[in-house]
Structure formats: structure tokens, C-alpha cells
């Protein structure tokens, strides 16, 4: 009987030893995204891009012989969920965190990101997160600032499409408001005023009143800002109401998974903004094929950007080790790094991605119209 406590102690020691040994042979990469809830669809490509990069690194032997262990925590597509998920991930002591793409959620995590100092990469594109505003040292944007994308949409409508009365239909949140501010800024520079500014709530599925106000304002171009379902409803109702102005959709409106939802006769000829069209670049063919094979989906820029983010972190760790301060410092030295989905700069208060592209929908596919870097 006296041997039982000894056996238990020996077992516990063995388990602890194995766990420690296992922990030392892996590096934890955290990820905080919505895998359930309203934004799960929009954030799924981020998970795909991250997984693809992790699998690729691990297949090549990991970083310095250590495999990457990707740990994902669900935000539930809610702000409090994003804070709780971030806390749970911090408890896993990750070398870096691939964070949600929702600007409002990231803004609510800012103090925690600053306190922890763990390199945190995000696809959140709000201008509020710029280094000269609320951006902080350990936070790295792996997308193009919305201000830049929205400004490109407004300039494209005014200068390339020749529109004089540009209307805006935006979702009533930080994302929509950021776009509106940038569009108003560009129109002001061009000595133009918005023909009409309309808003809607995320769950709204009838935009008839807003579209009729835009029609009655004699708008000759319309910029629609929102999430994938909002774009689908807007495009459908623009057709039903017989509106014949030029339409430019924000990024979510031309994601491959959104393009599938449009009636072809309703979406043909509509423009959309993206950071890039990674699958259209010949040198990305191998990556795009791998993505298609792994997820049975067409790759998009957001997946490519999260892939790039993991690769940049891996390169930084390989160079300076896994210490969070060293990784942050190394990432902050990046200048004009060309990835699959964007060109990134963090040195000298760089704001991450810089590329913007505008495409036109033709038979359910987005064809590149112009690139602005």
C-alpha cells in the first residue's frame, strides 16, 4: 500500500516532464477570430491563410526545429468575446497573436495589447489604428488602411468613372464611418459634395428607402460600404429598383464567397475595392493552387495577408528568437516587404499594407481594373 503514493508521484512527474518537453518543442501561435456568429464567414479566410502558413512552416521543419502550434480562440463575433478570447490566448503564452479583423474589437483590446507587449497582427483597417493615432508599438496592421482604400474608391468614382454626384450607402459602425470620413475628405479635395449619405444597421435587409433617396438625389455613382450580406441585398435591390448609376462596393462585396451570392445579371459591371487580387498574380500561382486544394475555395487578399503575417513573424523569430520585445523590434524594422497579399512597411511609423486595387465584376468573377500602390 505504501508504494501507491510513490507510484502516483512518479506518474505525475512523468506527465509533467512529457508536457514540459512537448511545450519546449513547439511554439504557440495564438489566433483571436470569430469562428461563430455574424462575422464568422468574413473571418474564415483569415483562419485559412494562417493555417496554410503554419502547415507550410511545420512541413519545412518549423522555426529553429520547433513546430508551430496554432491555438484559436473564438470571439463569438462580439466585442466582449474578443476581449475574453484575447485574455485566454495570452494565458497560452504565444509568441505572436493573429488578431481579429474587426476594428472596433481591436480598439477595445488596445490597452491589453499594450500591456502584454506580444506582437499582435491584425487585418483591422480602421484609420483609428494608425501609428499616429491609436496604434501602438506591438500592434501590426496586415492590411491597407481603410482611409487609403476608401479614398481610392472615391477618386476612382470621380476621376475614372467621371461621376459628379457621388452617394454613399454605409453600414452604421466604425467601419462605415471610417469610409465615410475618407470619402468626404477626397470629395472635399475635388471640390465635390456627396449627393446623398445614407446608413443602415448590419441586420437590415431592406434598403429600398435608402436607395430611393439616393435615386432622388440624382446620384451618378454610389459607394456601398458594409459586410457581405449587406452588399448582396444592396446589389439585388439596386437592380430591382432599376437604379442605373455606377456602383463601387467595399472590400467585403467582392470577396470570392460574396461573388457567388449575386445574381449574375445584377452584379455585372459593378466595381469593388480590394487590397489585391493575389490569385491573379502569376508568381502566386503555386500558393493559390495550394489554397484552393486545401480549402476548396478561391483565395482572397485577406487570407493572403494573414498568410503573409505568419510568414513575417516566423522570419522574425528565426532571426532574433521568440522573445516578444525582440520580435516586435524586428517586425518594426520591416520596409517594403512584398508578400502574397500586400506590400508591408512598419519601419518609420509604417502603417502596414499599402496596396489597393479596384476590380470589376464580370460573370461572377472580379477582373482587375486598376492597381494603386
Amino acid at each position: 500500500m505504501r508504494r501507491i503514493p510513490t507510484l502516483i508521484a512518479a506518474s505525475l512527474f512523468t506527465v509533467a516532464f512529457i508536457t514540459t518537453a512537448s511545450a519546449q518543442s513547439t511554439i504557440t501561435l495564438g489566433m483571436v477570430v470569430g469562428t461563430t456568429g455574424a462575422f464568422a464567414g468574413g473571418e474564415a479566410p483569415l483562419v485559412n491563410g494562417t493555417k496554410l502558413a503554419v502547415e507550410e512552416i511545420n512541413a519545412k521543419g518549423g522555426i529553429g526545429g520547433k513546430q508551430i502550434d496554432l491555438v484559436i480562440e473564438d470571439t463569438g463575433s462580439e466585442q466582449t468575446g474578443a476581449i475574453n478570447a484575447f485574455n485566454r490566448i495570452v494565458g497560452q503564452e504565444p509568441v505572436a497573436i493573429m488578431n481579429t479583423t474587426l476594428s472596433g474589437f481591436v480598439l477595445s483590446q488596445i490597452a491589453m495589447i499594450k500591456d502584454e507587449g506580444i506582437p499582435t497582427l491584425t487585418g483591422a483597417a480602421s484609420a483609428q489604428l494608425s501609428p499616429d493615432r491609436k496604434g501602438i508599438e506591438p500592434l501590426f496592421r496586415i492590411r491597407t488602411n481603410d482611409e487609403r482604400v476608401a479614398a481610392a474608391a472615391a477618386r476612382f468614382a470621380a476621376e475614372k468613372l467621371g461621376a459628379k454626384n457621388i452617394a454613399v450607402l454605409r453600414i452604421n459602425n466604425e467601419y462605415g464611418n471610417g469610409w465615410l470620413r475618407a470619402i468626404e475628405g477626397v470629395l472635399g479635395e475635388l471640390k465635390l459634395k456627396p449627393a446623398s449619405i445614407e446608413s443602415y444597421e448590419g441586420p437590415d435587409r431592406d434598403l429600398t428607402p435608402q436607395l430611393l433617396r439616393i435615386k432622388n438625389a440624382n446620384a451618378d455613382a454610389l459607394i456601398v460600404v458594409g459586410d457581405p450580406p449587406n452588399h448582396v441585398v444592396a446589389v439585388q435591390q439596386i437592380k430591382h429598383l432599376g437604379l442605373c448609376m455606377k456602383v463601387v462596393l467595399s472590400n467585403a462585396g467582392v470577396l470570392p464567397t460574396t461573388l457567388k451570392l449575386y445574381q449574375p445579371d445584377a452584379s455585372n459591371g459593378i466595381y469593388g475595392t480590394v487590397d489585391s487580387l493575389p490569385a491573379d498574380v502569376p508568381e502566386n500561382k503555386e500558393w493559390a493552387d495550394r489554397y484552393r486544394k486545401a480549402f476548396n475555395l478561391e483565395p482572397d487578399y485577406s487570407a493572403a495577408e494573414y498568410y503573409d503575417g505568419v510568414m513575417m513573424v516566423a522570419q522574425a523569430i528565426a532571426k532574433v528568437g521568440a522573445g516578444k520585445d525582440a520580435v516586435v523590434k524586428e517586425l518594426r524594422s520591416i520596409q517594403n516587404h512584398k508578400g502574397i497579399g500586400n506590400v508591408y512597411s512598419y519601419a518609420n511609423k509604417g502603417d502596414g499594407g499599402v496596396s489597393v486595387a479596384i476590380g470589376q465584376i464580370e460573370n461572377g468573377k472580379l477582373k482587375l481594373t486598376t492597381t494603386l500602390n
Partner: protein
Amino acid sequence: MDTFLQVTLSGVTMGCIYAFVALGFTLTIAAAGVVNFAYSEWVTYGAFIGVTLVSVFGLPLWLALLATVLLCAVMGYAFQWIVFRPLEGRHFLTTVTATIGIAVSMQALATLVWGPYALTLPTFFGSGVVNVAGVSIFPHNILIIATAVVLIGGLQLWLTGTDIGLRLQATAQDPVAARLMGIPIRHMRTFAYCLSAALAGLAGFLVAPLFVVTTTMGFGLMLKGLAATIVGGWGSLKGAVFGGLIIGIIEALGATYVSSEYKDVLSFLIIIIVLLVRPRGLFPEPIAEKL
């Protein structure tokens, strides 16, 4: 004038959708005194089941609609056994909390089963639009309005003119007296749950082509359905219909003639005014006092 007619048509369509949701929501309140917050997911599942039957099993739309309604009725029956029967006799808030928990679980399950991406369902009439006197009419909207009129009218006739309808009303108004009169109130409640779930399936299927099918589509609808129920009066089927129509039309007209920014503010202002004037809603029912 064209704008007014167009917006009114759109408001009536949305009002009918809200009325559908409010009707199903009200049925369980009226028959069993249960405020079922999982109703949002019943609507969502109706849409997802419809999409699955059409796009995976290749059923024609009309058959998929019938199958969806039937499957949702079965779901209501299963719910009655698994969820509502064990909760019978518990405090009102216990039931409400349980249904909220189930709604969250069902939403997560939907993501696991159907994936995170939005889906769509084709309409019965294609994507064409009919133009009448400057008003663009999307035939699917007319289908929704016509279905609402037939269904609501039929339900009213059935409730007041048939034996089973009168039994259901008796169960709603006073279950103890109904039981003493020999009415099998458990069967009546089971029937109400099945009917409520069938209505959710119908609503989900019909709104899917307009709304885009997502795991959260039912939640927004249920909030409006809940608002319609409050305006119309807890447990009142007539109130659910009028409440839905009032909210749908006010929202549309407010967004057009006042501001799209204040669309929801206007809706909630209407609710506040109605509740100030008639605290138990437009068509109060005795069941409201029991909740």
C-alpha cells in the same frame, strides 16, 4: 408619389415578414405561456434546411418549401419533448433563459453544420421585376404578402370557426378550466409548438431569397417580431399581425421621409408611444397578465 408607393410596398413586405415571425412567436406565448427566444434559430434553420433541400438534394422549390415546413414542425415537436416539457411549471425567467441558451447553441451548431459563409436561395419567379405605374414590383415580395394574407386569414378563421381552434384558444385563456372541460391541453400545446415551428420554417424559407441565409439572420428578425408582439399585445395573434405591419411601414416611411439614420429610433419611439397609451399593447390578451 412613385417613391411613396414603392416604399409603402417595401414596408408592407417587411411588415408581413415581421408578422410571420411575430405570429409564430405569439403562438407559443398564447398556447403555453412560453416566450421562446430560440424562435430566431427556428427561422434560421428553416432557411438553411430550405437551401440544403434545394442545393444539395436538388428538390424543386415548391417541394422544398413543403418539406421545410414539415421538418420544422418535427423540430417543434422534438423541442416540446426535449426543452419545453422539462421546463413546465418553472419560473417564467427560467424558461426565457433556457431558450436564450438554446438559441446560442443552435447558432453555433448551424455554423458547424452549414459553415460560416452566407448562402442564398433562388426565388419562385426568378430575378425579374414587373413595373406597374412607375413602381418596381419584385414578384417574390407579392408572394410574401399573398402568403401572409392567406395564412393570417386562414389562421383567424381556423381559430374562431373550428373545434380544434376553439380548444387551442381555451387552452391559452385558462388551461385549468380547459383541462376540467376535457380538453387535452398537453396535446394542444404540442400542436401549438409544431404550428409555431412550421411558421418559422415558412418564414425562413420565404425570406431566404431576400435576406441572404446566415447563422444570424433570425436574430434581427426575431427582435422586430418581438417588437411587433409588444406593440400588438402579448399573446394576441391579431396584434402580432398589426404590430408587424405597423413597424414595417413606419420603418420604411421614416427612413425615406425623415432619415435612414433614425429608422430604428422611429420604430422604438412608436413602441414607447403605444406602450404609454396602451401598456398591454393594441390588442391586449389575458395571457399577458400571467407572464
